[in-house]
Structure formats: structure tokens, C-alpha cells
Amino acid sequence: MADDVVRTADGIPLKTKLRQAERRELRRALLLIAPLFLFIVMSFLIPILVMLKNAFYDPDLGNNLPQTTELLRQWDGKTLPGEDVFAAFAADLKVASKAKTVARVGKRLNYEIPTLKSKVTVTARKLDKVETGPWMEAVTNADPIWNDVSTWVVVKRAGSAVTPFYLLSALDLKQADDGSIERTPVERRIYVQVLGRTLGISLLVTLCTLVLGYPVAFMLATLPQRTASILMIFVLLPFWTSLLVRTTAWTILLQDGGVMAQFLNISGLTWIANKLGIISGEPHLFKTRFATVLAMTHIQLPFTLLPIYSVMKTISPTYMRAAKSLGATPFHALRTVYVPQTMSGVAAGCLLTFILSLGYFITPALVGGGSDNMIAGFIDTAMNSEGNWGKSSALGFVLLTATLTLYYIYNRLIGIDKMKLG
């Protein structure tokens, strides 16, 4: 043939045929993962996006007080609103009263000004008996708080569907009347502290599992197969037990007068601790930070250990032998030859444990004290006991952002997505 393009038997250029074959393979691969992808999108991605949306989108008040919200949009926020706003407010409250949404209105406003929930309810009840205006008089007679410009600023702000309120309160901030951001009063300022506490406990648990898990993984990877298999069962068996059962087991072990306390007494450690002044009297292990970290370390240990083990298993023993034959002491060989090779497993195991620890709330609730509540516990409280979807979504948003930021920094430092795991 005259041209120098390589062709297949039926005359089509080889390059084209290759591309067609590759595309076919790609299509087949995509179809195979399509069900899983759909599942992840529907059960994972979409719920997360809905939750994140709830953190800054709350149309509830705007829907329940439509006319008031509409009129307040044009209000300047400096002096008391006019008679038309009060009239709209009264009309909206009457409608809300019949639809039984007054409590929701009050609840939303109560987040910003305490006592407003009962005042809104009382106002609605009193206005039900008033037929005609002047409405400013009627509303302010029902409760003097409606004479306050700050109250109406709050109503105006709460009326807009897109609101920074929940995100700000998840960071212990709020908006003052003029729109500037300031910190919430001292007795309500907890979320930043709790976030810090959560990150701190998770880090501590990660370090503990690493210190405890690394030697065990080393042992499992280097012992002869039979012994290693039996020891592996000891590691995996608790892993298969329910988390709640394990936490309750710690409750029994750590309670006052329980197994741990008796052990400390009999072994004389209590006496030593008393003499050193660390504790006075009986050791109290239950419902403390110590108990929380201990139980969490126990539960998270397999998560750190197994990735490290899997990487260690792929390291050939010849490297260590070569290092020693070149004159390195065992410790030096370990430090410079063996450990760097296990870093990918260490990084993966630590990351896994850290992220899982961030979401703990049952274990701190059962074995921890009042000041051990982690952020997931607050998300649970906000959702179940306070019914505050906005706050729980905002806290989830903050936690997710913190986690992703930390992962990004971690990735830059260790380059985990470039690592080949064995």
C-alpha cells in the first residue's frame, strides 16, 4: 500500500480500531459500576447535599408569615415598622393560629430572642379575639416586646429563606442588629470548644491506636503463619462484636468497685497513686475522659492495625537482612529501612481511625462524663431532642468542612492519594 498508516485486515486504521475497542471497554466498565454509583449518589451524596442545604436554607418562617415577610423586605430597620406591617402580622398570625403553625413561628424566633416563643403564642391567642385595627395598638398591647425595633429586625432576618443564622451559631457567632457579626453571650458559647474537643480526642485516640497497634501488626506480619493466624483471630473477634456491646462491657469493667477498680486496689496501684497525690481515695474511672479514650481506642484498634498489617505483609524480609548485613544495628535498620516502607499503611490506618472517631457519640455518652460530649452528640441532641434541623445541619456542615480541610492538609503532607499500597 502507498500510505504508511498501519491498517487492520478490513482496511480501517489500527489507531481508530484501538480507540473503538477502548471506548467499548470503557462503556462496559461504566455500566458495571452504574448500579453502585447510583446507590452511592442516592444514599450518600443526595442526603449529604440535603443536609448541607438545611444549614443555610430555612423557608419556614417566610412561609408561615408571608405578608409580614414581604412587607418587612422594604423596611429600613431603623425605626418601628408602620401600621401596614402590624396589620399584615396580625393577619398572618390569625392564619397561623388556625393552621397550628404558631408554635413553629415562635420556636424559630425563640432561637434568636429567648422568651419570644411564649410571647408569640400569647400574642396570637390575644389577637384571635381582636376583629379590627388599629393593629399596632392591638399587637403592642398583646406584648410590649413588639415595640422593640430589635424584635422586628430579628423577624425580618428570619423571614429570608437563605440565612447565615445557623452556620453562625454553629461557630458561636451571631448577627447584631446592625448586621455586624459578634460572638454569642458567654453562657451559650460552646460549639467551637466542642469542635476542638472532638478533634483533640480523635487525635489522641489515633495516636493511642497507632502506638498500640504498630507492634501488634509487626508481630502478626512476621510470625510464622500458624501462630499469626491464631493471633489474628484475637484481633478480629472483638471487631465483629457490636459496638454497643463493647461499650457496655467497658461500663461494667470501669465502674466504681468493678473489675478495674478492684485490680488497681489489689495490685497496690491505688495506694501508690494516693501516696503520689494523683488521686485521693478510691479510683473513679467511669464517666471520665479516660474511660472515653480507653473505650474508643479499644473499638478503633482493628481499624488502625489492619491497614498497617496489610502493608507490612508485602514487605520482603530480605530488606532488613540486607540492611543488617551492611552493618546497621537492628534498631537503625528498623528506623531507616522498615518503617518508611510501612508509612502508607500507617497513613491509611490513622486517617481511617481519625475520621471515624470524629463521628463518635454513643461511646462518650455511655462511658464519658458531661464534659466529654463530642460534636456528634450535639448534632444528635439538636436533631432529636430540640428538633432544630438548621442547627444540626450547620454543625454537620462545620464538621464536614473541618474534616475535609484536615484531609487536604494531610494529603499535602503525606501525599496519600499518590501512594501505592503494596
Binding site: R28, L31, L32, A34, P35, L38, F39, M42, S43, A99, K100, T101, V102, A103, R104, K107, N110, P114, T115, K117, S118, T121, E187, R188, R189, I190, Q193, V194, Q255, D256, G257, G258, F286, K287, A365, G370, S371, N373, F378, T381, M383, N384, S385, E386, G387
Partner: protein, 348 residues
Amino acid sequence: MKKLSVLFGAALLAGTAFAPTARAGDELTITSWGGAYSESQRKAYYEPYVAAGNKITEAEYNGEVAKIKAMVEAKAITWDVIDVDSPTALQACADGALEVIDWAKLGLDKAKFIGSDVSECAVPSIVFGTVFGYDTSKMATGPTSINDLFDLAKFPGKRGLQKNPTVNLEWALIADGVANADVYKVLATPEGVDRAFKKLDTIKSDIVWWEAGAQAPQLLADGQVAMTSAWNGRLQAAIDKDKKPFKIVWDHQGLDWDLWSITKGTPKIEEAYRFIAFASGAAPQAEQTKHIAYGPANSDAIPNVDPSTLPNLPTAPDNMKTAFNIDTQFWADHGDELKERFNAWLAK
């Protein structure tokens, strides 16, 4: 052919994701608080009701109003009949999450029921008292008044309290010198709330918090606490059934009701009414007192109560001397912000 089967598999999987969750057809789901209380309801109400040919499923919760509201708003009702305490009843009713009770449909005389006007959305079932108790085998001379709960010098040791501001704040004010009649007036002011939290601060580091009703007697039995607040029936059940040497201190007990309510929009409303009518009858109500020391709301049941149980009921004259009624309207109005303040105080 391979492509087709793969496509078909994908479509099937996607289809199952949209299948609606279904409940067993004719079972009535009754939600209550678990532990010894649910056990007493099982013996007095559920078992006889099921024996008469009906089907019941039990569920448990710890008084979370949010769960009820979420269910109603999402129109995915999994609980039909809910045993609520009065603050929950008022709050859920105001939010439109419970059905308004038609007493005529129940076939019961509203006047005969103590507390029938607590809420229009609920039928009172029992009267219970929040008390505190101690273990006589660990403490020879135990506390006798509410001040002893806050007295760490005279009665050292940990105290168990419910992880909820209700009753704890009232007790703090009472121990600080406020009279029963003024407690809610004081608690309605910001200074009053600060005062209550300041009093609680004096014992904060010695408090062990419980959430489920069964935890309180458990903490006492484990020796984890020197004294604990609890719902009187739970402690009494531990004394009677588990033969524990506990003693209940009735001083300044907080009285409240447990009421039956029906979730709004439940498809099983007829069955719900039938069950509540049955459970509110004089005979089953008297039967319940045999299993837990709570006062029946149906006054017709009281003559049938075992005389040996009478002194253990919260409504017994000896126990009522310093008792106060939990002001449910107050908690319905102020509960939200006090809960938030309480959670923030806990976290510090």
C-alpha cells in the same frame, strides 16, 4: 446479551431504591418509655388486649418531641399511639403533631380522669412523681429533704440526675429557698434561671447524668452514685422485684402525668381509639398498679388498688405533703431555650 443483562440488573437495583417502606398491615404500634414502666404496661394493657384478638407492636423512645414531629411532617408515621409526658403532650399538640381527642368516641367520662384537661390531644394514664432515692445498705442515715441532695458535706458521693432541665431546675431553686408556689415565677425570669444554674454548679462535678429511666436504679445498684433522682415507679420496681434495699425520699417530688396520645395522620386511628379506651378502663388501670407504683388517672380504678400498694403511690397523702405539680405550660413555652441553655451548661 451481556450488556442487556447488565442493564437489566442496574434497572432492578435502581427500582428497589424507590420501594416505599411498608409496615405489617394490621399491627398497632405503641411507643413508650421502656424498662419497668413498659413492662407494667405489657402486663396490664398489651397482653390482655392481644389476648382479646388484637395485634400490637411495641416501640421505645425517651420523650423526643422532634421524632414525633419529624414523623408527621414526613408523612411516614411509624408510631400510632404514643405514651407522652405532659410537656411533650403540650408541645406536640401545639405543633399539630397529635390528634385532638374525641372523648365521646372513646366512650369515657372525662370528669372521672385526673388531669384530663392537661392537653386536648392526650388521655391521662398515670400520675408519677420524680423523686430521689438512696441505697440503705450503703447509707445508714440517708437524706430526708431536697436540701440533702445539694449537701455534699453531710452526704458525700455522686448524685444521679436526669440529663434534662425539667425538675432539676425546680429542685435547685427550692433548695435555694424558693417556695413551691413561686418556683415557676422565679424560673420565668433570667435572674431566676441564673440562680438555678448557680445552685446546680455547686454539685456539678459530682453529678452522673442518666437519660433512660432504667439507668437511674441501675446507677444506684452499681454503687455508681450515693443518691439519684428517678421516676418513683422505677425505684419501687427495683425495691419490689429486684429486692434492692433502696429508699425513696418523697420530699418535694415533682408530679407529672403520662398520657396516651395519637400521632396525627396515622392510618390506624380507629384501632388507636379502641386501644386507649381499653387501657383507660378501671380494671386494667388498677392492674397496672400491681406492677408499678404509679397512680391511675381513672378515679374509678382507685378503689380496686391493692391496699399494700397505696402508700407507695405518688398520690398517697403522706407523699403529697411537699409535692409540686410540674407546670407543663411553663415548660411548653420555655422548654426550648432552657434545654439549649442546659445543654450549653453541661458541655462546659
